[in-house]
């Protein structure tokens, strides 16, 4: 096939490299003025690039060389981790970004592909988290298994909502999940079994006798204990990312798109609506639960206040900021949403407000997100 788009690899590589350098600079910056200057620089640079039509080349490059750039992005992530190898705080932050990305990718399968609304993302995240809190304390199950069980439980409890979600549409389905989010949080607060409002401690992860909560010493170099979690989370994200991409390209993704765009027409073409909605909802919740289970072990603590309706809206904000349906956008938006309030402590208290305002502005002026989903490509590596 002749490559009509003629997109070169280098714009993509350049952007990933610049973004990596920028992220390192932002994470390393300590003084508030420096951080704000960097943020303004970033916004101006992106706006200028958009103005000069440089972003189109980048876009083409990503469409044409997605797999190569994906590998390069992994290298970039490792480079960032290597730079901050002994900084607990930054490594924790990076791990958080990775796990939020995983959870939002799960949400993306539900909202972005199948169009099944889920405003209880944080609740399913919380189900995974509480699963690992309880199982790590009460049983000696291998922790990887615990993480899988966390995902399964989230999917299972989510299945209770399937009947109302399948029978309702749009706004009505949204209310079902909102009611569940509020129910879940209230339940955690009033019951005594799961520690009530105080929450519970979570034991750290161990794998094959290797305790994740110890710092790593290799030849005189000390690595932060969060490096363990970072590597595991990165592997998880890579797996989920590839799964999402494969799903989107496959006939399953095609079915889900048809379902989202027009349910009636999809049914006329013989698609089993209930089956695909169920599949998307269950798989999405499983991924969110897995991320939650691992995140609880990273943080070492679970409490009802971490799984509120507002937190669910944050996951939706990440999805919307990034561009619904685009996994790359999800990762970029997760970086923005997670890192910003931590680096700028002044805005941390206002984060829900700011994200809500950001999403409103987005909906009014750029509804397709920062990185809009591109037109479906039927063959990887081929222009659409």
């Amino acid at each position: 096939m002749i490559d009509k788009s003629g997109a070169a690899l280098w714009p993509g590589l350049a952007v990933v490299t610049i973004a990596t350098g920028y992220l390192i600079a932002l994470l390393a910056a300590e003084r508030e003025t420096v951080i704000i200057a960097l943020l303004i620089l970033g916004i101006v640079a992106v706006a200028a690039a958009a103005r000069l039509k440089l972003l189109d080349a980048v876009h083409g490059s990503f469409a044409r060389h997605e797999d190569t750039l994906g590998r390069f992005a992994i290298v970039a992530a490792l480079a960032v981790a290597a730079f901050f190898h002994d900084d607990h705080f930054v490594m924790l932050l990076l791990t958080t970004v990775l796990l939020y990305s995983v959870a939002t990718l799960g949400l993306n399968i539900q909202i972005g592909y199948a169009g099944v609304l889920n405003f209880a993302g944080a609740s399913f995240f919380g189900i995974g988290a509480y699963t690992s809190a309880v199982l790590n304390a009460q049983t000696a199950l291998p922790h990887l298994l615990v993480i899988a069980i966390g995902g399964l439980l989230a999917a299972l409890i989510g299945s209770v909502l399937l009947l109302p979600v399948l029978r309702t549409r749009g706004h009505y389905a949204a209310v079902v999940t909102i009611a569940f989010a509020l129910l879940f949080r209230t339940f955690l607060e009033v019951n005594d079994v799961f520690g009530g409002p105080q929450g519970m401690q979570v034991k750290g992860m161990t794998m094959l006798g290797w305790s994740f909560n110890d710092n790593i010493e290799i030849g005189g170099v000390t690595l932060s204990l969060y490096m363990n979690y970072f590597v595991v989370s990165l592997l998880l994200l890579i797996g989920v990312f590839v799964l999402t991409q494969r799903l989107e390209r496959s006939w399953i993704g095609l079915n889900l798109d048809a379902l989202r765009l027009d349910e009636t027409a999809a049914a006329c073409f013989g698609l089993d609506i209930a089956r695909w909605k169920t599949a998307a909802f269950v798989v999405g919740n499983f991924l969110i639960g897995v991320a939650g289970a691992l995140f609880a072990m990273v943080g070492g603590f679970v409490a009802p206040n971490n799984y509120t309706f507002e937190d669910s809206l944050i996951l939706v904000s990440i999805l919307l900021l990034g561009g619904i349906g685009n996994p790359w956008g999800v990762v970029v938006a997760a970086v923005i949403v997670v890192v910003l309030p931590e680096k700028l402590q002044a805005i941390a208290e206002y984060r829900f407000l700011l994200y809500a305002l950001m999403v409103i502005a987005m909906l009014l002026f750029r509804p397709s997100g920062l990185l809009p989903r591109s037109v479906r490509r039927y063959f990887p590596g081929q222009p659409s």
Binding site: L182, L353, L363, L364
Partner: protein, 306 residues
């Protein structure tokens, strides 16, 4: 003893039902004219309640006011301010997205709700904590056997009923009501008949939001406490109530409100664990109702056009 307890439950159920009905009517009105669910409706209620509280504090620092003047001023301040807020929301956030996918409208109202809720929590002095709400109504009680019929409850119920009857009168007997009904039935035909669509939508949002503010003040007077989360709760419950009755029907919304309150009260009486898990129970009922009758007891007429 049993009878008094029962009377107490009935009174409580009626109060809850009135508040739910007032909120549910708003959802129904908005759905009627614009075919959208205004998810920030509950948070408009919160802002209304806090506006009333601020007005009260303001009156007191000025050293003005008797009990009844206070009451009139805070109700007016809350309803007028929320009517304005409702119009702003409709004009600048919901109407511009009419051509966009339904998901966008839903998200923007959800996020607006978050903005309002967070704004109250962050910017109202100590807004994160529950605030005491002044008891402005007379606390006298009439003893009926061992049951004390409290005057303030009776007054609130009467006022709520008055608002609903007033709305019904406007909708069924005035030109404005006729225009609202026309827009709800068929927007394009209404336009060709010379109805100013935008104006009618804005007025409807003003009416609905003012009613939410009224419910917010009522909530404050009844519990003598408000917090920034009440709106989210009342919004979800009010929406479910509107759905039980079938969206788009005012009577349905009122019926749904009282039905939901009844269910909740009966649940609290019959289920021993329900008092601690009161809210959990309420939300479980919401989910169960949606599973049972997704478009309400009076089914919404859905026609699919391909």
């Amino acid at each position: 003893m049993i009878v008094e307890l029962l009377a107490q439950y009935v009174m409580n159920g009626l109060m809850l039902g009135m508040m739910y009905a007032l909120v549910a009517v708003g959802f129904t009105l908005f759905f009627g004219v614009l075919d959208v669910i205004q998810f920030s409706h509950g948070d408009v209620l919160t802002v209304g309640a806090f506006t009333a509280l601020a007005a009260f504090v303001g009156l007191h620092t000025l050293g003005l006011g008797s009990r009844w003047l206070d009451l009139v001023v805070i109700v007016l301040a809350a309803t007028l301010a929320m009517a304005l807020l409702g119009m702003v929301i409709a004009r600048y956030f919901i109407m511009p997205l009419r051509a966009a996918p339904a998901l966008n409208t839903l998200l923007i109202t959800l996020m607006l709700g978050t903005v309002l809720r967070e704004a109250v929590r962050l910017f109202y002095p100590e807004g994160a904590n529950p605030k005491p709400f002044p008891a402005l109504l007379p606390r006298d009680a009439v003893a009926l056997g061992a049951f004390n019929l409290r005057l303030d409850n009776v007054l609130m119920l009467a006022a709520g009923a008055g608002v609903i009857v007033g709305l019904q009168f406007v909708l069924s007997r005035t030109r404005l009501g006729l225009a609202i009904r026309a827009v709800a039935q068929d927007e394009e035909t209404a336009r060709t008949m010379g109805i100013n669509f935008t104006a009618i939508v804005l007025i409807t949002f003003a009416i609905g939001s003012a009613m939410a503010a009224f419910a917010g003040v009522m909530n404050g007077l009844y519990y003598n406490e408000i917090n920034f989360g009440i709106g989210l709760y009342l919004g979800v419950v009010g929406f479910s109530a509107a759905i039980i009755g079938g969206l788009g029907s005012v009577y349905g919304a009122i019926l749904g409100g009282f039905l939901f309150a009844g269910l909740q009260t009966v649940g609290a009486v019959l289920l021993p664990f329900a008092s601690a898990y009161k809210d959990v129970f309420a939300f479980a009922v919401v989910i169960a109702i949606m599973a049972w009758r997704p478009t309400g007891l009076i089914r919404e007429k859905i026609s699919e056009r391909v």
